[in-house]
Symmetry: C2
Subunit: 268 residues, 2 copies
């Protein structure tokens, strides 16, 4: 199934795709729908003029893994890790799938295409099998990073959690339709030029590994998000370094899920 | 004023101290009270048998500053920083002022006494004066740290965000009664032995600095928490290293606010 939060004339609704039409699910958005514990079905009304927006507007936790693709780890000059490197964002950090990325001028802004995992059940000290069964689905994210702030100190958070800086969506695809462990492509294009492309097959820690690991120390709940890290090809690792400019269009794609289209605007 | 969330026979309530008695404020807890935008006064009913519990059960953001006391920075072998080092916890990470700290056996658990700042208004790209005016009050925290997990990777988050591991409270004292910029003592005792004591006068980044800095990239809202860092004297920096043991009692005190009393239990 393809799940989303869609905008329509009267507001927003959680929705499920049914033969090219969006049908309503009984909640104002997908965060609320997943929190309700209800099971998605296609018995709801067709929503006219539905447009997918930020699918998960209210995750309690957005936890990100860095350094998780073998080739990206190598481009940063590091060894393959024994443990996932974890940092956080907030619900405020998220941005809709076609919204502009608006940031102050003068920042070093970089792309990081990622597969995002949507938690479907409460996970507390879960083993790998329980974590895998607790996945509601997968979506696309771009962990847009403000590199100058990220590297001001040892802790990356302040470069990773600028409000409205992480495009997410456009839909959440359930695990019966997509298997990242078998491999899905994660692609980033800037102004049409491919800058990242790799398969989730090469993840050091896969979705179930990450959920199980995180749930050792903090509970995960329906609608929480775990970003699985980015492949090689980020701007800061290029020679010379390359950052996003005003007017650049970043497309972040995972075939089988969809494409985020983000226009960069520096607002002074 | 001293504000708190208190437990009583019928549940919990936000409350204000009035001549030794707790009077009700119109919300179930201090997070909800601050979010409501109401102003505290002492016109509410006296609450019989009120006991302060976790004052802020539902902050949207808990942002922590590391390496912020000059002497603690020196004990970690680092230079005085140009920018605050920031990492995060969650509401789930917080623990009541007298609750036991319960963690699995075998972890390297350390203390970090801290002054915590409670946000009182919405702050977005605030300057220092606006940030200072936006402080609802101050409380006591212990940024209990699982050192072996903290140092597994470059990012500290996984050692800092174990559920129910950060004692907070017992009350929130408003800025008219407490001025950390002038200096308040931050004290930690383990089984009665003083292990940390320093003045907030020596903070590299004070409360207003931190709120202004953070609000540059992410909005702060009423009830959000900013922990200001810990003085020298943590266990991991001792020779030999010292970690908490089952049954240890950690007292975290800021005179003028109060004392947290935390008993350590490893539950296997």
């Amino acid at each position: 199934m393809h799940l989303a939060t869609v905008a329509h004339a009267a507001g927003t609704s959680a929705a499920v795709l049914d033969g090219g039409e969006w049908r309503a699910l009984p909640a104002a958005d997908l965060s609320a729908f997943l929190a309700s514990g209800a099971v998605a079905d296609t018995t709801g009304e067709v929503i006219a003029g539905a447009v997918p927006v930020l699918p998960l507007p209210a995750p309690g936790k957005v936890i990100c893994c860095g350094l998780n693709y073998a080739d990206h780890i190598r481009e940063t000059g590091r060894e393959l890790p024994a443990h996932p490197t974890l940092f956080t964002k907030y619900a405020d950090t998220l941005l809709g799938p076609t919204a502009d990325l608006v940031l102050p001028k003068g920042l070093e802004v970089d792309w990081e295409a990622e597969l995002a995992v949507v938690v479907g059940t409460t996970l507390r000290r879960a083993d790998r099998a329980t974590a895998l069964a607790g996945i509601a689905g997968y979506t696309v994210a771009n962990d847009i990073s403000v590199r100058d702030w990220q590297y001001r100190t040892l802790e990356w958070f302040q470069g990773k959690a600028w409000d409205a800086s992480t495009p997410l969506g456009p839909v959440v695809v359930t695990p019966d339709e997509l298997d990242p462990a078998a491999g899905v492509e994660v692609i980033c294009r800037v102004n049409g030029e491919q800058v990242q492309r790799d398969s989730t097959r090469t993840l050091v820690f896969d979705a179930a590994d990450l959920l199980a690991y995180i749930s050792t120390f903090t509970v995960l709940r329906p609608g929480d998000l775990v970003l699985t890290g980015t492949p090689g090809g980020v701007g800061v690792a290029r020679e010379p370094k390359r950052f996003l400019a005003h007017g650049d269009v970043v497309e972040t794609e995972i075939p089988g899920i969809g494409t985020l289209r983000t226009t960069v605007r520096f607002d002074g």
